[in-house]
């Protein structure tokens, strides 16, 4: 562990290739094992447990009876499930790109040397700290059809009044707006951290080469941001497909089920109907979908980030 530089250097080259490879395997496993054991015990086992639960008829707290694939069959036939899946897909397709596209320029701006940048950074951080409950109350007020300031502003501008959370046709989009606001700070912080990894000399060199600021950004910074973008893409997708809290504090899945997304449906099944097996089956299907999407996304970002510093 505390290998001093000299002896190690002496051994260099003389070490057989195979033992080095074995050493790599051991090092790799050694490095990941604490985290993997913790995550395995408190993350993977519960996931396996849910998988097993999805083949059971259970009320969540008492021993269940084996139900085979009955819960999956029920799920496929459940029209509410398909509606919920469609809503989750629409939500995700809107929420993820919007958040990322808005976050990047803000992060670049917050990476400039300008007066008060610390305050701006703190400001962007605020929504992250605001509890979901408070966020829900505030947006319910802002978007209140009768007494909210947004409709008041629309009226002043001579535009028609909207129903927002109270309109079955608009509630999901109002939810997108609210959650983009809530997650923007998160994405900005990730990008901000990633921008620090851009070596200053690279940008400097690009500038000396006569690159415009924008071109330098595109050709130097943007590729270096690919891993961060990959992280955000995966992370935001995982979270948006599991949207729940924000629905719970605003629309409760309504009006007329317009915001009953997959996990809200699952919650209803688990804690209103107490059909633990069905809820677990929904969870497992969702798991497979997210897994597939994530693997595709990871493969795409791996290709995009094959950038090397020359």
């Amino acid at each position: 562990m505390a290998a001093t530089v000299l002896p190690a250097r002496a051994a260099k080259g003389g070490r057989p290739r195979r033992s080095r490879r074995l050493g790599e395997h051991l090092a790799g496993w050694g490095f990941v094992s604490p985290a993997v054991l913790l995550i395995g015990l408190f993350g993977m086992l519960p996931v396996l447990w849910s998988f097993w639960l999805s083949f059971q008829e259970t009320d969540l707290t008492s021993p269940g009876e084996f139900a085979g694939g009955a819960k999956y069959a029920e799920l496929v036939r459940d029209p509410l499930m398909w509606e919920a899946a469609r809503r989750s897909a629409v939500y995700t397709v809107l929420f993820v790109p919007l958040t990322m596209v808005l976050a990047l320029p803000i992060a670049v701006m917050l990476n400039q040397r300008i007066r008060g940048v610390t305050l701006y950074r703190m400001a962007v951080f605020v929504p992250l700290v605001t509890s979901t409950v408070a966020t829900g109350i505030i947006f319910n007020w802002l978007l209140n059809p009768q007494f909210g300031p947004v409709n008041a502003a629309l009226a002043k501008a001579g535009l028609p009044q909207q129903g927002f959370f109270q309109s079955p046709g608009q509630a999901l989009f109002a939810l997108v707006a609210m959650t983009v606001w809530g997650w923007l700070g998160f994405a900005v912080i990730i990008y901000l951290a990633a921008l620090q990894a851009v070596p200053a000399d690279l940008m400097e060199a690009a500038a000396l080469d006569g690159c415009g600021r924008l071109r330098a950004f595109r050709h130097v910074e943007l590729p270096l941001l690919a891993p961060a973008s990959g992280f955000l893409l995966v992370w935001l997708t995982i979270n948006s497909l599991q949207l729940f809290d924000e629905v719970y504090v605003t629309t409760k899945g309504g009006p007329l089920r317009a915001t009953t997304v997959v996990v809200y449906h699952l919650y209803n099944k688990a804690f209103v109907d107490f059909d633990g097996g069905y809820a677990a089956a929904v969870g497992c299907v969702l798991f497979l979908v997210i897994l597939a999407v994530t693997l595709v996304q990871l493969a795409l970002t791996r290709r995009a980030s094959s950038y090397e510093v020359r």
Partner: protein, 296 residues
């Protein structure tokens, strides 16, 4: 130290200038930046809810029971003294601090190790293992929370602060985040150190981690935020009132039908101060990192 030196040598031409502290290169000027025109309104939109919370926290109960809401007529500091006096707020904050600081420390250590290995070491089963780690994020918490409770029980942690700490000592989020960012560190730096015969651990600690300061700061903040504001898990994992975290404690201001909004908001504002302090400290790392990374 010699490693950092080697790293520097491999790094090509040294550049110096106003931008060497990591912010993008830009000539200092006295003229206010046009970016203020974007950032100022944006900031207002972002902080509006905080202002609203602060306003509620200095309102009277009667003032919070109006709709549409209006400005308070005076400043009601009693909400703050009340929140501090009527409830063991300090005790709850202490519990939250123990939990969050432990989790931040655990994540920084365990996720650095794992993230580095997943990013840079080719070892048997690394891909599969990484996907398995990510997979734990893909089942909604509503489903895994009761099974997780069973694990906590099996580990003998039921109704202890440990039940809030141990399951969060290493998170898939942290492993994933750090793994992604380790891939951005130029390989040359590492290779040079390896040729010098440095061990993996030494490379991680002396070459990689100094380069990762902004990311580590980000992980620290987000882990702190997550554990500090977590509600559902503490709710079901802890029963003893002595182990209440501040988020659980604040619930004692929320009755079945009536909520003491001013007091709740005063408590909330107090409870979020450590999070802001944490972020304030962490964001300073966003400027310093590269300067200390030996890239000059």
């Amino acid at each position: 130290m010699s490693i950092t030196m080697t790293g520097r040598a491999a790094k090509g031409p040294a550049t110096r200038g106003p931008a060497a502290d990591g912010t993008a290169p830009r000539r200092r000027s006295r003229r206010p930046s046009p970016l203020h025109l974007v950032l100022l309104p944006l900031s207002l939109v972002m902080v509006a809810p905080l202002l609203w919370m602060v306003l509620l926290s200095v309102s009277t109960k009667e003032e919070t029971r109006r709709f549409p809401p209006g400005l308070p007529h005076g400043i009601e500091w009693r909400n703050y003294t009340g929140a501090l006096a009527d409830a063991p707020l300090a005790h709850w904050l202490g519990n939250s601090a123990i939990v969050s600081v432990s989790c931040v420390a655990g994540n920084l250590v365990f996720c650095s190790l794992a993230g580095y290995a997943f990013a840079r070491i080719r070892f048997l089963g690394s891909r599969a293992l990484f996907v398995a780690v990510l997979a734990t994020l893909m089942v909604p918490f509503q489903i895994v929370m009761l099974p997780t409770l069973i694990m906590v029980r099996a580990a003998g942690l039921t109704d202890t602060l440990g039940a809030l700490i141990v399951p969060n000592l290493a998170t898939a989020f942290g492993v994933f985040l750090l793994r992604q960012f380790f891939t951005t560190v130029p390989r040359e730096l590492e290779e040079a150190a390896r040729i010098d015969g440095a061990s993996r651990l030494r490379i991680l600690v002396q070459v990689m981690l100094p380069l990762m300061r902004p990311t580590l700061a980000t992980l620290a903040v987000l882990t702190f935020l997550q554990t500090w504001n977590d509600f559902l898990w503490p709710l079901i994992a802890v029963q003893n009132p002595d182990h209440m975290t501040v988020q659980l404690g604040l619930q004692t201001f929320q009755g079945a039908h009536n909520t003491d909004w001013p007091k709740l908001m005063a408590g909330t504002v107090i409870s979020q101060l450590p999070v802001f302090a944490m972020f304030f400290v962490a964001q300073r790392f966003f400027v310093r990192s590269v300067a200390t990374a030996g890239l000059k």
